[in-house]
Chain length 424, copies 2
């Protein structure tokens, strides 16, 4: 017997037939004698519909600014998960499973007061553990909690992943299964490289890099939370036949296990290749070389809500000042240049160059900490294909390389191959 | 300054444009210096969609019986009002009105545990009065409350009217305005008699008879509640221009006031003509004339959920037993006959006759208590048009007459005219 939290996203509960399919997955785990809590998202499309209404209402009411109150956003948008939780409870009951829906305010899932983007502060697991002891499957509305003002809060888009991991931590679950529309985490995007392989295991740290770099399988916050609480998290497909062989395997169900690196016995040097398109490169020349200069540039950009990604600093040609290069999303270039224009005199720099249509390709692997030459292999492989490198940043487990956009697919396939990721 | 509860039904909040219109009605009352609570239904069609999903889920899940859990029904269906309350709060805020949405569990609106058809047990008005004192318009999700099991409960279809009246009673409101898609209560159905006039006032008792007899303006329970707590209730149209002259009149806004009969100075003998179609008449002959016979017949019918309406008992032709006639909806005839067949031997009666396609026409007026001859006038007027009377029941303020269905419109117009209701 194990204690399992199962999470199903929007496409997995898109209609009543899909909800029935989810119920079959749940029943399989219950019939195997496990204690089960289920976390559900809104039916696919519902959240967008509700958010659309919230955004349109001020305009229809003739407001001069299209602003809306985050507390009311939360009350409206959280209703999507409420509906799914009730319907899944009914589906389970119809199949003879003792089930009951629970909203964030009932458990309670306590969050901070940042309505619209709240963080979970506390879940007292005892409420759900009592449900387990009654033999009940607790169907929990994801994405939401209750704020200190006694109002519904929501966790931000994709927050149901975070709900699931937080609940798994609170009840000390043996496993947190994130059912989604892909069957696991791949060595790279299979749409680009058909030889991409599903990983059996990936470490939390690697997953964090993969997720934030564009492998949009899991919300980044949920992975951080899983890492902190060491929640063994499986990414698996809700589209698999619930009763296919091996689906109920307690230790090795089909999918990718995200876990502590200690659990990964045979570590690969490189685990995966991620990429992010539509980046723009901005370069500042002859930046004054004194303390506080970087803050003087990047604080105003952050305050303007511009998401700066790679940052590279070099010595300038004149040897007395520095060059600074960073990337922002294509759509933020104009805003970024306007901010830079304002701070130019105070900070002191000369030429602003910018170019959009770039891509960032990243090599990720916890094993590279103990292996030299990983970066050099990447550079040589790209050079062999005449792919120009615009900028490089590195961390302990990641090498990110900025290249011209049109070379993205070639670069991904080249790196995937050079590290042997296409071989079993 | 007055304290006003405003209630808007599904067609009044059908889309964002209609919600904006509702906000204009609310703003008018706020600008006039009134304290305002608003009660909203789900956007028109939403409740049906949610109920449909609840009913379909067990079938899709392959349940042998299409049953669903009333607690889960409540969690799913109550989400409709939650959405409207948030959107209306945003619309009001966009127009500069300090507003906030509140769900049943937050106030709380305490109900009994009859999920799906709960009754309001208690609303502590102090929560809403504090909101008024803060200058806040409280936008309350109608139709719902919280049951003793700490779960959402719903009040049954049309329950938002009851929410509004209960809240008006709890905060001791000066007025409860029920905004709907008609602009008041009429002397009869204007689709049948174009000369029907809107009543300025109608007593609670008369409204109860009008509502239960088919003038579907207000939920019967809400009228009962208004009568008990003497809540002055206006029925008015949300489709009127919110800023038309007189809309903000504190004492006499356009619409019909439902009030204590003491407030109605010039009582008419007859206030209105109601009707109900698709009734069936069932007659039992030579029913044994001993105590307990009526209970022996009508208890089993009630247990079979058959809604018996008119009941008439006469002495039989043989002078030793009684004849019993009653009406049920057309659709319940077969079920009623099956029940009667089971109890026939125990109770003792001979012939069961039944005929469907009947209509009940009712003359309602609190003034008839002090006026003789009201019933005789009706009988003569119908006889003059050769309309055959199948059965008659009377109460203090109502005469109901069962006739053949095809004569319904003629009978309604005849009675409307004979009591002078078509004259100003």
């Amino acid at each position: 017997m194990a204690r399992i939290v199962m999470k199903f996203g929007g496409t997995s509960v898109a209609d009543l037939s899909r909800i029935h399919n989810v119920a079959r997955h749940v029943k399989r785990e219950v019939d195997a004698g496990n204690q089960v809590a289920v976390v559900v998202s809104a039916m696919s499309g519902k959240t967008n519909e509700l958010v659309g209404w919230v955004q349109e209402t001020p305009k229809v009411a003739g407001a001069s600014m299209p602003l809306y109150d985050a507390r009311e956003y939360d009350a409206v948008v959280a209703s999507g998960e409420q509906v799914t939780s009730g319907l899944l409870a009914i589906a389970l009951q119809s199949m003879g499973v003792h089930a009951r829906s629970w909203q964030g305010w009932q458990i309670p899932i306590k969050t901070d007061g940042a309505h619209g983007a709240a963080r979970i502060l506390d879940i007292d697991g005892s409420f759900l553990i009592r449900r387990f002891e009654e033999g009940q499957v607790a169907v929990v509305a994801g994405f939401q909690g209750i704020a200190p003002d006694n109002r519904i809060s929501t966790l931000g888009r994709g927050g149901s992943d975070t709900s699931a991991v937080a609940i798994a931590a609170a009840v000390k679950a043996d496993r947190c299964d994130i059912y989604t529309d892909v069957d696991g985490v791949y060595t790279t995007d299979p749409r680009i490289e058909p030889k991409a392989r599903r990983l059996a295991k990936i470490s939390f740290e690697e997953m964090l890099e993969m997720a934030s770099l564009g492998a949009k399988v899991l919300q980044v916050r949920s992975v951080e939370l899983a890492m902190v609480h060491k929640v063994r998290t499986f990414v698996r497909s809700s589209f698999d036949d619930p009763d296919a062989p091996g689906m109920g395997d307690l230790l090795n169900p089909p999918g990718t296990l995200i876990c502590d690196e200690d659990e990964i016995v045979e570590q690969q040097v490189v685990t995966g290749i991620a990429y992010a398109k539509d980046e723009a490169q901005i370069s500042l020349r002859r930046v004054a070389d004194r303390p506080g200069v970087a803050a003087g540039i990047f604080l105003p950009l952050a305050e303007a809500n511009i998401n700066v990604d790679m940052i590279v600093q070099n010595i300038s040609e004149d040897g007395k000042s520095t060059d600074m290069t960073f990337t922002v999303p294509n759509g933020d270039v104009a805003k970024a240049l306007a901010v830079l224009d304002q701070v130019r005199k105070d900070v002191g720099f000369d030429v602003v160059q910018h170019e959009d249509g770039m891509s960032k390709v990243s090599v990720i692997g916890i094993g590279m900490r103990s292996h030299a030459g990983v970066a050099a292999t990447a550079f040589k492989a790209l050079a062999d294909k005449a792919i120009n490198i615009r900028a490089i940043t590195t961390s302990e487990i990641k090498i990110s390389i900025l290249i011209d956009g049109p070379y993205t697919e070639l670069a991904v396939r080249t790196l995937h191959s050079v590290y042997g990721l296409d071989k079993h």
